[in-house]
């Protein structure tokens, strides 16, 4: 086990009350595994990812639970101890490669700076490794490109630079927070392939945060679906796509555009809005939007075998089947 998260909760105290952005999230990441955390905006997936590396620094935030990595609980580390983990053992890349690099330094210097923060090497050696890193992530003319500034790269190339930087110290885990969201579809595919290659060649374990099930299907080994600050389903890729247990997952799958089916008049959607995290419902958080709600749903369902739903497995199989494909509900008009 590389990384083991237990009951992680992140709360933000605001004028309107306490926002439970992440509320009791638990998951494990195995060596060399690609775990996708899927959810819509505001489901808490990005906050979860940032909290793993201690980057949730708002003074109004309270963090509880444990993040176990290599025998230590990361939530207990101070900044100086965390430096040994950040970048060196666990690296992170972010959603917007346009703004994630400092515009006033050459990309080579930004990689050199990272290497020299952890290893006692000369500038020259660090720069040589920067060139090698840029080459390894598929940047042409790396000897010349190390001297360029971020604005001289395209979006996809900048994300490659970010990945090169993340790999600089040969970390065990890469946390990728929506790494392809800001990119064109073709560039997206290239970046995903790069991550997949790194995973296979270096045994790099990846936590991939995304809202895009297409991205998940591409490279993930296992998927955790987040809804309103909680994980509602945690399953292998195949199981999630072919035997999904939670109605929210059915809704997500049902809303995908499918090339192998006749084109519907409009794409299916999940009616309603996610609940406010200021005062989340006491029972099942998805109940208000779920057509299969029943009296049991007023009690909070636990996560059992990667599933947070009270429905009987037999009923689930019946309810999710909409004329041979999986969905939440037929013909929902908005």
């Amino acid at each position: 086990m590389m990384l083991s998260v237990r009951d992680l909760a992140v709360r933000f105290a605001t004028d309107g009350g306490v926002v439970r952005a992440v509320d009791g999230v638990s998951f494990d990441l195995d060596k060399g595994e690609i775990l996708a955390i899927v959810g819509e905006s505001g489901s808490g997936k990005s906050v979860t990812a940032q909290t793993l590396l201690g980057l949730t620094r708002a003074p109004n935030a309270t963090i509880t639970g444990t993040v176990e990595f290599d025998g230590q609980d990361l939530t207990q580390l101070d900044d100086e101890q965390f430096r040994e983990i950040r970048g060196k053992r666990i690296a992170m890349i972010f959603q917007d490669p346009m703004t994630s690099l400092n515009p006033v330094y050459r990309v080579g210097d930004q990689i050199v700076e990272m290497i020299r923060a952890h290893r006692k090497v000369s500038k020259k050696e660090a720069r040589d490794s920067a060139v090698d890193l840029l080459r390894s992530v598929g940047i042409p003319n790396p000897e010349r490109r190390v001297h360029n500034y971020p604005h001289e790269f395209s979006g996809g190339m900048r994300q490659r630079v970010m990945i090169a930087m993340a790999l600089a110290l040969d970390p065990d885990v890469l946390i990728a927070d929506e790494p392809t969201t800001a990119l064109d579809v073709t560039v997206q595919a290239q970046i995903l392939r790069l991550l997949d290659d790194l995973n296979r060649e270096r045994g790099l374990a990846v936590v991939l945060i995304t809202h895009d099930l297409g991205v998940v299907a591409e490279i993930a080994d296992r998927v955790a679906v987040m809804y309103a600050g909680q994980i509602v389903e945690d399953a292998t890729l195949d199981k999630l796509f072919y035997d999904p247990q939670h109605p929210y997952t059915w809704g997500l799958l049902g809303s995908l555009a499918r090339l192998d089916q006749p084109r519907p008049a409009r794409l299916a959607q999940i009616a309603g809005m996610p609940p406010s995290l200021l005062n989340p419902p006491t029972g099942c958080r998805f109940a208000a939007r779920c057509p299969h709600e029943f009296d049991k749903c007023a009690e909070p369902p636990p996560l059992v075998d990667g599933d947070r739903c009270w429905l009987d497995p037999e009923d689930k199989r019946r309810l999710r089947d909409l004329d041979g494909r999986i969905g939440l509900q037929k013909g929902v008009a908005s």
Partner: protein
């Protein structure tokens, strides 16, 4: 780069021209400004006034008067109406004192502003920040003439910590030069320290939320390095702009109050006296001199910008 400098030089000439015209016209519409009447004395008869007027060229059409004035400025033969002294010489004579005052004050205000702004930003909301906020607001609110008078009264008269005012040239005695300038430096710097540290603080708080600062932290850089290399460095860009404007202004005679209260014979004091006696030639001279410095330092800042922010390329059209 060459096109940029050429464009800025053209702009500079246009600005200086406009300023000279405005100053000249203002002087001509001020009531009781006719220098001939004042020079001729209290009980002058009309003939005497007419003679003085014609000596000064005041009987010429206004545009001829303007051109004559400009010609004198560019040939360095401009003389004061009141004292018949050469204006250019007087400005040159005042320059060492003014530069001593302003460069020293500028160093002081930049260093203190960066230190205070930085401390304020990294302790934002805490006691240090609040204390520095109050301090800078006090600094911004204190009028220079009042602060100068208070400092003089308490630190040179009550407690004789510093020598009484006036300027000692650096070449005469560096120690006395500095000890005589400490209070003026402080007085001139206080306003800018307050203002700049507030601006820097808010810039830094903005930059702290930038994605690249999060990246820097995720890279495992020491917190100090994150704050200085990434936050402070990127927050300095607007400060440099302000500095270019303000420094140009104080060198070009903007330190009138400080120079007057501390009796420093600089460009500002010269300008102050010329205003007092409604003496046009020194006024135009000092104004042009000041305008030149403001435009000049602005250009320097724009060039500096390209080094501070590599996204800026001089002389090229801005990307759409």
């Amino acid at each position: 780069m060459f096109r940029f400098v050429a464009r800025r030089l053209t702009g500079m000439i246009a600005v200086l021209f406009a300023i000279s015209v405005i100053v000249f016209l203002i002087f001509n519409v001020i009531p009781n400004s006719n220098p001939a009447i004042r020079i001729a004395g209290k009980n002058a008869n009309p003939e005497l006034i007419a003679r003085v007027s014609s000596d000064l060229g005041l009987d010429q059409p206004i545009w001829v008067q303007y051109l004559t004035l400009m010609k004198k400025i560019f040939t360095g033969t401009l003389t004061s109406y009141a004292s018949a002294q050469n204006v250019t010489d007087q400005i040159w004579r005042g320059l060492p004192a003014t530069l001593s005052l302003t460069i020293g004050a500028a160093v002081l205000w930049m260093v203190l502003a960066v230190v205070f702004g930085y401390l304020s930003a990294i302790h934002s909301g805490k006691f240090t920040d609040r204390a520095l906020t109050i301090l800078s607001l006090v600094g911004i609110s204190m009028p220079v003439f009042w602060l100068a008078a208070i400092l003089l009264y308490f630190l040179t008269f009550k407690v004789q910590l510093f020598p009484t005012s006036s300027y000692v040239p650096l070449t005469t005695d560096p120690l006395r030069w500095a000890s005589h300038l400490i209070l003026p430096w402080l007085t001139l710097a206080v306003l800018y320290v307050g203002f700049y540290s507030r601006v820097l603080r808010s810039n830094m708080l903005d930059v702290m939320n930038e994605d690249y600062v999060r990246t820097a932290r995720a890279k495992g850089l020491p917190e100090r390095q994150v704050r200085i290399r990434h936050v402070l460095r990127n927050s300095m860009i607007p400060i440099v702009t302000l500095f270019g404007l303000d420094f140009g202004a104080v060198v070009g005679g903007g330190a009138i109050l400080t120079e007057t209260v501390f009796n420093i014979n600089g460009v500002g004091l010269y300008a102050g006296r010329a205003i007092g006696s409604l003496d046009l030639p020194p006024l135009v001279g000092v104004t042009m001199f000041g305008a030149f410095f403001i435009v000049f330092f602005n250009t320097v800042v724009d060039i500096l910008y390209a080094f501070l922010d590599p996204r800026i390329r001089l002389g090229e059209a801005a990307p759409a």
